[in-house]
Amino acid sequence: MPEVVLEIPARPEFLALTRQVVAAAVSLADTVSADRLDDLRVAVSEATTNAVEAHAQVGSADRIVVRCDLASDRVEVEVVDQGGGFDPGSVGQAPAAEDEDRLAWEHGLGLSIMRELTDETRIVPTPDGTAVHLVVYARPPARAGEDEADREGREDG
């Protein structure tokens, strides 16, 4: 499957470039809708922001690698950092939006947004840091069969 790989310095000013390159690559593949591309753009920004902050915390000058796999049925983006690792279990559930604790918890909001806006979000520890996999299907997998049936139904009628 076609793959686009981007390496960026671990600095906030490269977040916009990362979103632009991923969005342009996904647009070329033309597998997901504009709305889903907007969702993926936010999720990629969250994953890359976490990577930038992880590098800053450990003082790493290494680059962050963003890899886009453009399959016919899905887009998979992998954001790989060398920022020493991250435990998704430590973030916990979001306090209610109006809860004062929500503000203190804001830092973990990115993970929650990634999970909400993609079909799959996987956080995979690596020897040097973390790889975040974000997957958006061309069509939601659970509903693919129904859509197929719907279309056949319409063609019959």
Partner: protein, 120 residues
């Protein structure tokens, strides 16, 4: 610069305009503008998001911070609703229900907030 930030005063309100892309790179400028707006408007703050093209959790944190500071001061906050791009981020975080959103800047500056704020 991907984010366009300005602070103006109108009709007794400070208007902080946040346009373009609000992410970790533009958060410091946005936060500074909110701080300046709170001082200049004496707690009466409008966040104008009309031209906001993109926001992620780092940027949403600035908006939440503005709400918290206005509440601490006993001030008033009105937020001009962004276009379609950032709306999903608002919806999935529940911020569209939490922030006092209005449709236009004129509504925000009207004495009654343009006939009341609009929820989700």
């Amino acid at each position: 610069m991907f984010c366009d930030v300005s602070v103006t005063e109108r009709d007794g309100w400070a208007v902080v305009h946040l346009g373009g892309e609000l992410d970790l790179a533009s958060v410091p400028a946005a936060r500074q503008a909110v701080f300046e707006g709170l001082q200049r408007g004496r707690g009466r703050l409008v966040l104008d998001l009309t031209d906001l093209a993109f926001v992620d959790s780092a940027g949403l944190g600035v908006l939440l911070g503005a709400l918290r500071r206005v509440n601490e001061k006993g001030g008033e906050l009105r937020v001009v609703r962004p276009g379609p791009g950032p709306r999903r981020a608002f919806a999935v975080t529940g911020l569209d229900a939490l922030l006092p959103l209005v449709a236009t800047l004129d509504d925000a500056l009207a004495s009654d907030g343009g006939g009341g704020t609009t929820g989700a």
